[in-house]
Symmetry: C2
Subunit: 458 residues, 2 copies
């Protein structure tokens, strides 16, 4: 395997560069041709390796699906990645153009280099390597979306309508970070999210506060008052029932120190360490308020309609649907009768735990340790990866979150890059994971089959 | 007098049309040449009548000052108006172009027809009429600004630095409304205002709520919580000391019914009628909140810096400077230590009462009744006219607010217009007011002089 990678090293890198040259920015409709070009690029790349590939759409950017069916007896691994990228702005802060990949100091610089194109491409090159030496002992399903950077808007509908096509035994995502350059990591748990837009409407048009202030309800004053009642001064979330179902289990309490420039802005729920507050405790944040007047100078408007964006990060034991209703009930309870209130759910995912003692996780752990020479550390992250919760819910698969980026790779920012060494170690790791998982799972199936036979004989 | 007006009727109207043709929109820098043209138009108009006229600037659009000095023994009337207009948008809703004045059904249609160009011009034509028949028994000072529609930003600085030039015995403003077409009105009281922008800053840059939610303070959550504590659910303002000094005097309680389409949005302080709540009770409104994310879709940002615009309408007994400090103290008290809070005063004016039994008011009352055949009604208005409070504070003059517009003239909206009959009745009324005031004030001065002489003889 290593030999094949060594021989084709330059070609792999050149192909990655071609992929990175496509400005597949999903947020900006001006790049829709490039989104299409990037999906076609993946399909061609897969077809060249002999992978059956096709394109699906659930109304948004194409979802590229690839399939390698070896035989029915083997377990199947579903692998996810995304080929869309963040906008490159501010372009003036890039040392080299974001869509002309450049190699410096062992790193490849380009928008999407780390998030997530190199990690998508190393998966493909791992598969090419295994197909080349006929060592693939798993069936493989590939699902690459083009809307991750804009909220994976249509992915859930695609998954729901293609459950049997996507069914698998293990689920791998390569879109996360290592602890440091030689220290691999796997994600242990992710928080979920319930994201709502609250709209408050009063009079049918904007009014003048001099003429009608004190007489007509002000929806913005009302909205601020309601938002002010979502959290107490000591950061307790006041939505009735919000904490129901959260077990206050003992947990590792890793040391976590925020960057020095953020030290004076630390705040949060008392009784929990910063580490716990950012990993296993739920939170609530107001992200923006719109309506009324926020331009220069004073304007004395009583706005007709205003809205706020609010999200809650959820932990194990919480259900995003229940939390959304709890918020809705609470807001309706707080709303004075003179306004109309409407809540719209903009995102919803439950928290997900990985099963670290599963065959899949243990295989990934073994592959990472073998390639990097260090056992992976397990991280809890406070963020949300929507696909994880969708796949858990609709395909009943626990994720393996194994990524090869570094925190310092500057994803979403200028001069995003990816360590070339990690690109090749990633290829090795993914290959070794698939191989190990295939073998372990086969043994496990045989053992279970044996147990089953034994049981039926009793 | 009537004869002169009758003879020059057509010319007066043609001159007004010329004035209305100038699109002196103060809010849009694209019209700065037109602002300049409008100020020059007024200066020429005044000079043609023999009024000494000049232009001043306190850093903003020109302030046009005119002076008619008859003799030192006579009282002086200062008259205010503004030559700037609101933008004409939405232009597509106008039946005829906003800057091509058109006469239909006895009304002249144009942007600025009512607010305030016809009311400025009728003052000039009243003066022309009096100068023509040599009946002017007052000294006159004219102050026409070009920034009323953008907050009279530099007027206060002009007034402060020209106190002796502007000193007078009476102060007339023609920029308000009659009760109905034949029912004149005068303004009895105006509310003041304290308008503040509250800025809350946290971490030096926007952060991700998945990564740092629950760990780093969210300035927007904090701001909403503070705004939520400004008013109680039953519309009491919770700023400590806010109501100090307000006398709960018995007052007329006129019936006030809001338009049918607003009926269900009525709300306010309990224990006071809608009329009192919109005239003699203070209020608080949040006008806008900026910062964070308010575009389409969900974004999980912990904003670095956010701000809100808040105004309070003030009544007799409140001082805008004290109210601003009370707000500042309260906000500082509410702010958690992890954020930095800054308050900026964007406008401040105290409430103003007119002295309805003064010689000036009684003269205006007499003039209105004589010309319109109906005694004027006295109105309290909830809004604020910044110049009134500036002139009261710096020149110690009580205002006479006598206007010839109608509520239905659609100022600030499409198809703004002014009744031509009121243009000519306005000319008559202003002339009669000046004449009556001059005579009454002279008698008063003589009487006081006599009293003084008698007193000194005792």
């Amino acid at each position: 395997m290593k030999e094949y990678i060594e021989i084709h090293r330059e070609r792999f890198l050149e192909e990655l560069k071609d992929f990175l040259r496509i400005p597949s920015v999903s947020a900006n409709p001006a790049y829709s041709d490039d989104i299409y070009k990037a999906s076609k690029f993946l399909i061609s790349a897969m077809e060249e390796m002999g992978i059956q590939a096709e394109e699906f759409s659930a109304g948004g950017h194409p979802i590229v699906y690839g399939n390698i069916h070896v035989n029915d007896e083997l377990p199947t691994v579903l692998i996810y990645g995304h080929y869309d990228v963040q906008p490159a702005d501010p372009i003036e802060l890039w040392d080299t153009p974001p869509f002309e990949p450049t190699i410096r100091d062992g790193k490849i610089y380009a928008r999407g280099a780390c998030d997530d194109k190199a990690q998508v491409y190393l998966v493909l090159k791992a598969l090419e390597t295994m197909l080349a030496d006929n060592s693939l002992e798993c069936n493989i399903k590939l699902m690459f979306e083009g809307e991750e950077e804009v909220g994976s808007c249509t992915l859930e509908s695609f998954i729901c309508s293609h459950k049997s096509m996507l069914s698998a035994d293990a689920f791998l995502i390569c879109d996360t970070f290592m602890e440091s350059e030689n220290q691999p990591a796997m994600i242990n748990s992710l928080r979920g999210i319930c994201y709502a837009e609250i709209t408050v409407s009063g009079a049918p048009e904007d009014l003048h506060s001099g003429m009608l202030g004190g007489v007509i309800i002000n929806p913005l004053t009302v909205l601020c008052s309601m938002l002010g009642k979502l959290k107490s001064e000591d950061h307790q979330i006041l939505i009735p029932g919000f904490y129901d179902g959260i077990s206050n289990v003992e947990d590792d309490d890793l040391d976590f120190v925020v960057d020095a420039d953020l030290a004076s802005f630390q705040a949060g729920e008392s009784g929990f360490s910063a580490y716990k507050r950012m990993t296993i405790r739920p939170t609530l944040d107001v992200h923006g308020v719109s309506g009324g007047y926020s331009g220069e100078g004073p304007k004395t408007v009583i706005p007709s309609k205003v809205s706020a964006k609010v999200s809650m990060r959820l932990v194990e034991g919480q259900d995003e649907k229940i939390v959304f209703s709890q918020l809705e009930n609470y807001i309706n309870l707080l709303a004075p009768k003179e306004v109309a209130v409407q809540l719209k759910k903009m995102a919803g995912s439950n928290a997900v735990q990985t099963k670290i003692d599963s065959i899949a996780c243990q295989s990934a752990d073994y592959a990472l340790e073998t390639v990097f020479g260090n056992k992976p550390v397990y991280q809890k992250i406070g963020g949300t990866i929507p696909v994880v919760s969708m796949v858990k819910q609709h395909l009943n698969l626990d994720p393996i979150l194994m990524g090869f980026g570094l925190d310092s790779d500057n994803i979403h920012g200028p001069n995003e890059h990816f360590h070339i060494s990690n690109f090749f170690r990633g290829i090795e790791t993914v290959s070794l994971f698939i191989k190990t998982y295939g073998q372990n799972k086969k043994k496990d199936i045989q053992a279970n089959h044996l147990t089953y036979n034994l049981n039926t004989q009793l």
